[in-house]
């Protein structure tokens, strides 16, 4: 009864209509247009892109050459918060780095000087100044160097650089073990789409990648609009005096928000499934995969964004909830840099896998992915329970939200 009323209230709100519009817009312009045609087997003598080989020798060799080149020019490109940053190290840090290079390569000071002299120099303008870049000849890694010790050193170097460098341990495999794909590799990847992913697995991942971007931010507006509506219409006190328990009221509203906001996602899923059926008629696809994975991927994200929005609005204000959610989403989406495949950490809000292929890359993060979604599912429920507690305190007159301005604001001047 109350659930139905709340659903109707949400569906008629302008914020919800805009929310539906953006979900559908993203679905049509990004996913639907991308997947309009079925995938075909690779043709011979084509360009098949790159694959990750995970070969330790290759990783160590490529990384150390890149490191020496950066060290000689003393310019390191980093993305500490997802944005470009040029780092120049001071003398003490350079000395530490020199020690690590010597350990990895087995070179002494003179050997390193020889490498510098034998490298090709380039002068590149960088802003208003000019930097020297060195194209170093291939330097072998010392035979005594183990991969474990190597990753340890790379972790230290990344710390010295302030994080986000290409030597960060979790990026080593991606940055330094890419090799060109052969026709056979491309063929094997294509067959994986049919045999292991049964078509729908790949398409479901791409669907979640696109829709997940919208779900990471837009639900907060609908949640804020609903939660602050009582205050805006000046009926908060009236609602406080009703018999209904805070738990039931808050959870009914929360359930109504999650349900209504998942409807456009479900409709998009259905449209994606129909498109897949049309494009792959006659093939052995697993249609349920177009629903199970997206529900597991997107529902926890929707739930946590909604619950966090409700909690912050009750505790502070709607504006604060929007700012916090935007900052979270913005950092999460942009901190990935250029890595859009298999980018799933333990606490990543917006999980990315922007391709129909690279199943292996996704499976590498599978444990993280499962933990991540279960964590956010639990966190969403905890946030909703906390919202109930805050609401109950406000209802009892023991708390009146933390605000800077307005009635009861911290900075409000007393008459």
């Amino acid at each position: 009864m109350l659930f139905g009323k709340e659903c109707r209230k949400i569906i008629r709100s302008l914020t919800y209509i805009i929310y539906c519009f953006i979900v559908v817009l993203f679905f049509i312009t990004q996913y639907f247009s991308d997947c309009n045609e079925r995938e075909y087997p690779p043709v011979k003598n084509g360009d098949y892109g790159y694959k990750i080989s995970e070969d330790h020798d290759l990783i160590m060799g490529s990384a150390v050459n890149s490191l020496i080149s950066d060290y000689l020019g003393n310019s390191y490109v980093c993305y500490p918060l997802g944005f470009y940053k040029m780092v120049h190290l001071k003398k003490s840090d350079r000395t530490t780095l020199e020690g690590y290079i010597k350990e990895i390569t087995g070179l002494d000071k003179d050997g390193l000087e020889d490498v510098k002299n034998n490298s090709q120099k380039y002068y590149l303008s960088s802003g208003l100044s000019e930097n020297v870049e060195y194209d170093v000849p291939e330097i072998p890694v010392a035979t005594t160097m183990t991969y474990d010790r190597f990753t340890e050193i790379m972790g230290d170097i990344d710390d010295i650089l302030g994080g986000g460098s290409e030597y960060a341990v979790d990026r080593l495999v991606h940055n330094f073990s890419q090799v060109p794909m052969t026709y056979e590799d491309a063929q094997a990847e294509y067959e994986e789409l049919f045999e292991k992913d049964r078509i729908s697995g790949s398409y479901a991942r791409l669907f979640c990648d696109y829709i997940g971007i919208v779900i990471g931010i837009m639900p907060v507006f609908v949640a804020v609009a609903l939660v602050s509506a009582d205050r805006r219409r000046k009926v908060s006190e009236l609602v406080y005096t009703r018999k209904i328990s805070s738990f039931r009221l808050v959870f009914t509203r929360y359930a109504a928000l999650v349900t209504t906001m998942f409807i456009p996602v479900l409709l998009s899923m259905t449209a994606a499934a129909l498109q897949l059926m049309k494009n792959y008629s006659g093939e052995n696809y697993n249609l349920s995969g177009m629903f199970t994975l997206p529900v597991f991927w997107l529902l926890p994200e929707l739930m946590i964004v909604t619950a966090a929005g409700m909690l912050i609005t009750e505790m502070f204000s709607g504006g604060t909830a929007i700012i916090v959610q935007f900052a979270w989403w913005f950092y999460d989406v942009l901190s990935s840099g250029m890595v859009l495949e298999g980018r799933i950490g333990k606490f990543t809000l917006v999980c990315r896998h922007n391709t129909l292929y690279q199943r292996t890359s996704f499976l590498l993060s599978r444990d993280n992915f499962v933990f991540n979604r279960l964590f956010y599912l639990a966190a969403a429920i905890v946030a909703a329970v906390l919202t109930v507690l805050v609401y109950e305190l406000k209802r009892g007159g023991k708390f009146n939200a933390i605000r800077l301005f307005g009635q009861g604001g911290l900075l409000r001047r007393k008459a």
Partner: protein, 208 residues
């Protein structure tokens, strides 16, 4: 007399309604300086913070122009005053535009001191992007009489720019990063049209 009245309006608004927004805009600029490495950037890299981060100030400063009177009681009091309500809103909007231009200017000068190749056209482009994004929020909140809808629409447009570069064509926000400045004129034009349309809607449709 009139200038005294204007000064009072500006001071009162800044203190009671917009101080937090001004502080948030300054905070955003400071965070941007920490997030991005601002030293030794060429023109395209220098365009990144100026196009991706600073225009968010437009949303922060221009969207809530009608917010203080969203409360009906306050609006009734304002209506009873001799000073035109929309005139006050216009002054707020001008203040917001001036402040975002000033913050952008300081930011650009700071980047210049960091040996980055920032140019006058980057500065103009950044301000145009901020005004365009802010005017979207301003227009949406003017039409809907709901600031949350204003924020939502502006952020929706911002989000679309990450994914729909080709479809937005002349109204693409991040063109300077790929070396194109032509779009900025269109964005400035769009900002002017949306601001005018927002005030027209308030005056003609909502009879304010």
């Amino acid at each position: 007399m009139l200038s005294g009245c204007l000064a009072k309006v500006v001071c009162s608004d800044a203190r009671h309604n917009f101080l937090l927004h001004y502080l948030a805009a300054v905070g955003l600029a400071i965070i941007t300086a920490f997030m991005f490495g601002l030293s030794e950037l060429d023109e395209k890299l220098a365009a990144q913070p100026l196009e991706i981060m600073l225009p968010l100030m437009g949303i922060i400063l221009m969207t809530p122009v009608f917010m203080p009177e969203q409360n009906e009681n306050i609006r009734d009091v304002v209506r009873s005053k001799k000073t035109s309500y929309l005139g006050v809103c216009f002054i707020r909007l001008i203040c917001s535009a001036v402040i975002l231009t000033a913050i952008t200017a300081v930011f650009v000068v700071y980047m210049r001191f960091q040996d980055s190749a920032v140019t006058a056209r980057l500065f103009r482009g950044s301000v145009a992007t901020s005004l365009a994004l802010g005017s979207i929020g301003f227009f949406a909140s003017a039409v809907s009489d709901n600031t949350i809808v204003g924020y939502m629409t502006a952020i929706m447009y911002y989000l679309c720019n990450f994914a729909m570069k080709d479809k937005l064509d002349r109204f693409y926000l991040f063109s300077m990063m790929s070396g194109s400045f032509e779009e900025k004129r269109w964005l400035l034009g769009m900002a002017a049209v949306l601001v005018a349309a927002g005030f027209f809607c308030r005056r003609a449709v909502r009879k304010q």
